[in-house]
Amino acid sequence: MFGILLAIGAVVLIAILLLIYRIYTLVNVVRGTEKKRVSKSNKVNAVLFVLFMLIFGGWFFYYSFAAYDKYQVPLASVHGLEYEQIFWTTTWICVAVFVLTHVLLFVFSYIYRYKKDRVATFYPDNTKLEVIWTIIPAIVLSILVFGGFQVWADMTDAAPPEAEVLEIMGYQFAWEARYPGEDGKLGAHDFRLIDAINPMGVNFRDENAYDDFIAREIYLPKGVPVEMKIRARDVLHSVYLPHFRQKMDAMPGMPTRMWFIPTKTTAEMREELNDPDFNYELACAEICGRGHFSMRKVVVVVEPEEYAKWYAEQQTITEQYPELRNLPLEEEELDETEGAGPVSEVVESEEVELSQK
């Protein structure tokens, strides 16, 4: 019953609005408003542009300063510092251009609104002006590009040889992190070896894998370069570490990598932010399905000594599941699997891939 009343009310309301609109148009016809070239609205619109500029511009500046702490992500890597510099340089240049062009746009709109006795200036071109405003943006952009090259080259360069290596694998909908163990070498992996107890498909025919361990939380040493070797098991994911200003897609079938130097331990950051619950987080930045928004893993940055201690305490995969050590697939068996090369080849190709970068 209520629904019907509501519907009737809506219909009546629409009918009234239509009627008002119709009367208004008829009044305009009688007045002959449309015969004039411009109406009063012309000035109203011109003024509104200026008002829009002032109110919106003011709000923009106010909010950008007032909310700085809310949108500024705490920073914890060497590379992140470079990022911040180039980001803010670009921001200030863009804000200047943004303000200048908008002031011109809206002020011109206001000043040069229609006036009956004025004739617009016939001004079809001016080569000098056009050359100037082609060259100036070109120069400014070149400066930004070269700044960008520098930072980009630094961060995508090969990781230093002393870097701590770990492997991150994304899958629906979580991450696994594998450390190389005492020998510092990650064992080979093969997606056909994946099962419930070997979620990363580590190939234990490779002796390097014997001391590998999988960590529940990602531990990183402070002040030491960390290299992440990245892959995915099913669909695309993206390793995203907002506090370290790092991101790299994870793909099945094509390993990727990134490296950085953490500069603050979790404890230091907690103190700095005055937030005892603070944690560095790893998120997924590439759409990967239903649970895309829940692929969280905690990253813990500690002092190198503490890191070494933690590292030594970890239980290796083979300690956890001794049967894995006894059950590596025979080489022939893998060879027979349709369409795939032998495991050794898979491993080699990955190394080649990495050394190329």
Binding site: Y83, A120, D125, R290
Partner: protein
């Protein structure tokens, strides 16, 4: 048949044109309104379809904005519409959330801003502005619309199937889009998406070839490329871009079809999913990304170029000034068109491709900002010392420039690989492309609709409602998309169903709510436009022949041009389209079809010299209807 008639009359003159008049009356409802080969009707068909899709696409965005602004809100009231996509606890299903995002993107980019914008205005304006009786091939043109229509039906249908529409993002990256095990949208929904897009590509190619052929071959006497309105230049280059880029998307889609249905491994390798290792080896997901963005980036310009053209035209007309730097405007259009093909990999800086490639694409990407900057400065100078009449179309054009600046500047951040690493796939990207491509192109489209409505339907739209619509939309889109920059700088990833799982993304609930409310209000304000559009179509004030005192040829046709556009001979063109406020001239505009011989008082020296050349022309016909 129509094609033959058109070509004959183009060369033949008045006698054939009369035959056209007779032809007009014989049309049945079906040949006139449905299977029409008339470019004007096809343009209107695209427009109405575009408006329909814009409402659907907008509505989908409201659904996911509700979830983002009010996480976990009770949506039981939507159950009659969405069925099981509302979970038993009344919340939106996370997988359907992704489907909504995907379909919103697909619909807006392809069905609204490609078909609805370039389809409408290329069809409607190219023949009218270059002085042609119709498109080069009216039949192909009709096919183009109907391919699009079938594509639309399939895409629309996919919204309602049980496993849901495609849900892998509008870029449909494999393996997610290739593996039904990975997400339910990759079942039938993805198949329908691919079929629909294939038909859509066919439609675009049919249309594009036609636009190009028409512009090259059917320009009226005197309409050299150097006298063409910027609209036509823009539509022409848009069609060239589409012709070169869409086949690549077709290839990408075809390989995806093979991977999905025939067991090939173009994009798939080393996958373990749903408890088993798949047999695919050797494929590369990167290959798909390269192919997709080879279309995807030019697509951005396919969307924005027609708006450039429309805005140039509307702005010159309503500032009563020639567009500043006509040649520079064409040059920048050309520059943007060429460069748009060599910047695609800036969407892939963190995809794992070679970092050296990243440097190259960063450099090329920032170069493309130069012609864009030139365009902006030229627009500003066009306004300078003008005599601006704020029609709704003019308001939208100024709004376009503002949005293009705002969105373009954030592109400088994202084009820089070093900055993109942090901002990639965050709300900063969402804010960027919604301003520069979504809203700006939408504003161009609105400018076009308000400006050419009188030519389309012979009636005027209501100005006051137009003003209201503009201000609500202009303020609205800034309220929606500007805050997203902050959310993006704060690192919030896009395509997240909710942010509650992360401490790092736990802030900004207030801002997200603000954005959602702004989006709902802005969307609702579009109903004013819908009302104005349909009401004015039937009951609007009758339009004069040249309501905006404009120079281009379409305004020399009768108020409602019939089949063949001009009842008599096609007017000859003598001058460029931007002779506004010429010193000495009686009025502040001189249409393109007025010979210099008739305007001795305002001719520049080199133009006076051209009077003799006009006389040499064997058929100088002074179009008496040209002056209203």
């Amino acid at each position: 048949m129509a094609t033959i008639n058109v070509e004959k009359s183009h060369t033949g003159g008045a006698a054939d044109a009369h035959a056209h008049g007779a032809h007009d009356h014989q049309q049945s409802f079906i040949t006139k309104y449905i299977f029409s080969t008339d470019h004007k009707m096809i343009g209107k068909q695209y427009l109405i379809s575009g408006i329909f899709w814009a409402l659907i696409g907008g509505f989908l965005s409201i659904l996911f904005r509700l979830q983002l602004g009010f996480p976990g809100m009770d949506m039981t009231f939507l159950k009659p519409l969405l069925g099981d996509w509302i979970t038993t606890s009344g919340t939106l299903d996370p997988e359907f959330y992704l489907a909504l995002v995907t379909m919103h993107g697909t619909i807006m980019v392809f069905f609204v801003l490609t078909a609805g914008l370039s389809g409408t205005f290329s069809n409607f304006l190219i023949p009218l502005q270059i002085g042609a009786r119709d498109m080069a091939s009216g039949f192909m043109n009709m096919l183009s619309y109907w391919f699009f229509f079938v594509a639309s039906v399939i895409m629309f249908y996919s919204l309602f199937i049980e496993t849901g529409p495609a849900a892998g993002g509008w870029v449909v990256y494999p393996p997610l889009s290739a593996l039904p095990e990975a997400i339910s949208g990759s079942h039938l929904g993805m198949t329908l998406w691919l079929i629909s897009m294939t038909l859509f590509i066919a439609s675009q190619l049919l249309g594009g070839i036609n636009y190009i052929a028409t512009v090259i071959n059917l320009r009226t006497r005197g309409m050299s490329f150097a006298k063409m309105p910027l609209t036509v230049w823009a539509f022409f280059l848009t069609a060239v871009l589409g012709l070169l880029a869409f086949p690549v998307l077709f290839a990408a889609a075809l390989l995806l079809v093979f991977d999905r249905s025939f067991g090939t491994s173009f994009y798939l390798a080393d996958i373990y999913i749903a408890g088993e290792a798949l047999p695919h080896v050797g494929g590369s997901p990167l290959l798909y990304q390269h192919l997709f963005w080879f279309l995807g980036h030019p697509e951005v310009y396919i969307v924005i170029l027609p708006s450039f053209g429309i805005v140039s035209e509307v702005m010159a007309t309503n500032a009563r000034k020639p567009i500043f730097g006509y040649r520079a405007m064409i040059g920048s259009l050309l520059g943007i068109s060429v460069l748009s093909f060599v910047v695609w990999a800036h969407h892939m800086f963190v995809s794992g491709m070679d970092p050296f490639l990243g440097s190259v694409f960063m450099f090329l990407t920032l170069i493309i900002a130069v012609p864009s900057a030139v365009k902006v400065f030229n627009y500003l100078t066009t306004l300078w010392r003008g005599n601006i009449i704020f029609t709704p179309a003019m308001l939208y054009s100024i709004g376009f420039v503002s949005l293009f600046i705002s969105g373009g500047l954030t592109g400088i951040f994202l084009g820089n690989a070093a900055i993109d690493v942090q901002l990639h796939d965050t709300y900063f990207v969402v804010a960027h492309f919604h301003l520069v491509m979504g809203s700006a192109a939408f504003f161009g489209m609105m400018a076009g609709i308000y400006h050419w409505f009188p030519k389309m339907f012979g009636r005027m739209m209501d100005n006051k409602l137009g003003y209201f619509h503009f201000w609500a939309t202009f303020i609205g889109v800034y309220m929606v998309f500007f805050p997203m920059h902050y959310i993006g700088i704060a690192g919030f990833p896009r395509r997240y169903y909710s942010f509650t799982n992360f401490d790092a993304f736990s802030g900004f609930t207030d801002l997200n709510m603000f954005v959602s409310i702004a989006a709902i209000v802005t969307f609702t304000a579009q109903l004013v436009f819908i009302f104005n559009f349909f009401y004015s179509m039937y009951l609007g004030r009758k339009a004069p022949a040249n309501p905006w005192n404009s120079n281009t040829l379409e305004w020399t046709t009768p108020v409602e041009p019939g089949h063949g556009n001009w009842p008599g001979e096609i007017p000859t063109v003598y001058r460029w389209p931007y002779d506004y406020s010429k010193p000495g001239a009686k009025e502040d505009y001189i249409p393109q079809n007025i010979p210099y011989a008739m305007t001795p008082e305002s001719n520049l020296p080199h133009e006076t010299a051209m009077i003799d050349m006009e006389k040499d022309d064997d058929a100088v016909v002074v179009d008496r209807e040209g002056k209203h």
